[in-house]
């Protein structure tokens, strides 16, 4: 009986994690470049009381054994890197990637981070930075007195400076791709860092090696689908409920057992 309590408890536990993941997805429904997560579960080990296929008297085999499971556990929380919708913003420093690439960001620690959030800003020196002030890599500095910035699909950035006739090329954006983006580690602030599971980044010009092209004046929205999350939330809540019922029933049965001797 105690086992059933624990078994149903593991069921409630996984549903709780499921709801945690869903709640985080819903909270980020308007976060630029956000990628939703999915909790995935697996069954725990089984206690085998009698093995099927075991030989018994007369050379016969046991057709069905006895296996009793111990519940469920979390297998993985997987990031789903499907593309989000593009929103037109007409802001010349807003960039979206059409493809699988990531922008490269330099963290203050010296590490490199990767993001799909292309809402870049300028700092006091004219350098392109994220909303948190982390510089884009390779670094691009916009000269003073710039009136217009043009970013092409292949990543080349040009500026029109006041008093000059022609466009001045000020840098090129490079994108990184990963073999297994689902293996990237999310560190918050819309950033990811590489892990041994994601593989090393392959950098390249936008449009080469499947990195995707850059789109100026657009932002990639979150890829969270609210309807899907709501459906998952209802399923998760009901599953939680049904497991709590199992615990209640186990409790009732224990109570009955305790009341046998009055």
């Amino acid at each position: 009986m105690i086992r059933a309590l624990w078994t149903a408890g593991t069921g409630m536990n996984v549903q709780q994690i499921n709801l945690d993941v869903i709640a985080n997805n819903i909270a980020n429904v308007n976060t630029n470049g956000f990628k939703k997560s999915r909790a995935s579960f697996q069954d725990l080990l089984y206690q085998t009381l009698r093995l099927q296929g075991a030989e018994i008297q007369g050379g016969y085999q046991v057709p069905t054994g006895i296996q009793i499971g111990h519940g469920a556990m979390l297998a993985a929380v997987q990031k789903i890197f499907s593309s989000g919708n593009f929103q037109r913003t007409e802001n010349e420093l807003d960039l979206a990637i059409e493809g699988n690439g990531f922008f490269q960001i330099n963290l203050p620690t010296g590490e490199k981070a990767y993001t799909r959030d292309g809402a870049f800003k300028m700092d006091s020196t004219g350098k392109l930075v994220t909303s948190d002030g982390y510089p884009l890599q390779p670094s691009i500095t916009v000269p003073q007195k710039t009136t217009n910035i043009s970013i092409e699909a292949d990543g080349s950035v040009s500026a029109r400076v006041q008093g000059q006739m022609s466009l001045q090329k000020i840098g090129e954006i490079e994108l990184a791709t990963f073999l297994n983006p689902a293996g990237l580690q999310a560190i918050g602030k819309n950033l990811f860092i590489e892990t041994s599971a994601s593989g090393s980044p392959v950098t390249g010009k936008p449009g080469e090696n499947g990195t995707g092209t850059v789109l100026q004046g657009y932002l990639e929205m979150s890829n969270v689908n609210v309807l899907e999350e709501m459906v998952n939330m209802i399923i998760g809540q009901r599953a939680y409920e049904v497991n709590s019922k199992a615990i209640q029933s186990a409790d009732e049965m224990l109570q009955m057992a305790n009341n046998v001797r009055r």
Partner: protein, 241 residues
């Protein structure tokens, strides 16, 4: 006293005990099914009853045996490239450290060595062994052949068994084949669906009905126990041993 014990208590109590014991086992099985409502590719445990009766004077003792219900679960569409579902019979073949395992859970990913693996990192086997995926565009045909950047690299190995009853749970959404007399073969008809996975086949309504049933059965055994307790105490009072 000895006489009374022999006449009533032993058979009745043995019956009651086996009944209570079964109710607890059933309860454990049901709660495991309920805990795995959201486990992809999970197959529910079912049970049958057996009765052992050696001769007419000894009480019959009931017990249960478990088996795996391989009924198909619902196919959930996700649009993820590496979510696969098998429509029809068959299992994906997984190479774990403990040996070959089988699963209906088609949620896969790619590891750092570019192999197709389960979410816990065990490689999925193709017809030519481990499947290496090195490229961007992954497309999986209905027959299980995998094309990466328009080149066919391998085909998923899908197997089935003559006797699915010889499969047993190995945890981690996997099954293992417990009998050497049950060779695997390629099923004749199956379709691999990319962008979908198979959900758990646990039927909540059925499990809840069973659960209510078990609790009430347990209550009955308890009531009979109590009644028998009263009976015995009356008997002892009357006889004054």
């Amino acid at each position: 006293m000895q006489f009374a014990y022999k006449i009533c208590m032993l058979p009745l109590h043995l019956n009651l005990l086996s009944g209570k014991f079964i109710a607890e086992k059933r309860f454990n099985i049901l709660s495991n099914n309920l805990a795995n409502i959201s486990t992809p590719g999970f197959k529910a445990t079912r049970f049958t009853y057996t009765v052992q009766k050696e001769n007419d004077t000894t009480p019959s003792i009931a017990d249960i045996k478990t088996y795996i219900d391989f009924e198909r679960g619902a196919i959930v569409s996700t649009g993820n490239v590496l979510d696969l579902a098998i429509e029809g019979d068959g299992f994906f073949v997984i190479q774990t450290k403990e040996g070959t395992r089988y699963t209906r859970n088609g949620q896969f990913t790619i590891d750092k060595d570019k192999r197709l693996v389960t979410l816990t990192g065990d490689p999925v086997l193709g017809r030519g062994g481990e499947i290496t995926i090195d490229g961007k565009e992954i497309y999986i045909e209905n027959d299980g052949s995998i094309s990466v950047d328009k080149n066919i690299v391998d085909s998923l190995r899908i197997v089935n068994f003559e006797n699915q009853g010889a499969l047993e749970y190995a945890g981690k959404n996997l099954f293992m084949n417990s009998s050497e007399k049950n060779p695997e073969h390629t099923p004749e008809k199956y379709t691999i669906k990319q962008g979908c996975y198979e959900a758990s086949n646990v039927n909540v309504i059925m499990e809840m009905v069973n659960l209510t049933n078990v609790v009430r059965a347990y209550e009955t055994y308890t009531k009979i126990s109590q009644y028998f307790d009263e009976l015995m105490s009356k008997l002892l009072d009357t006889v004054k041993l």
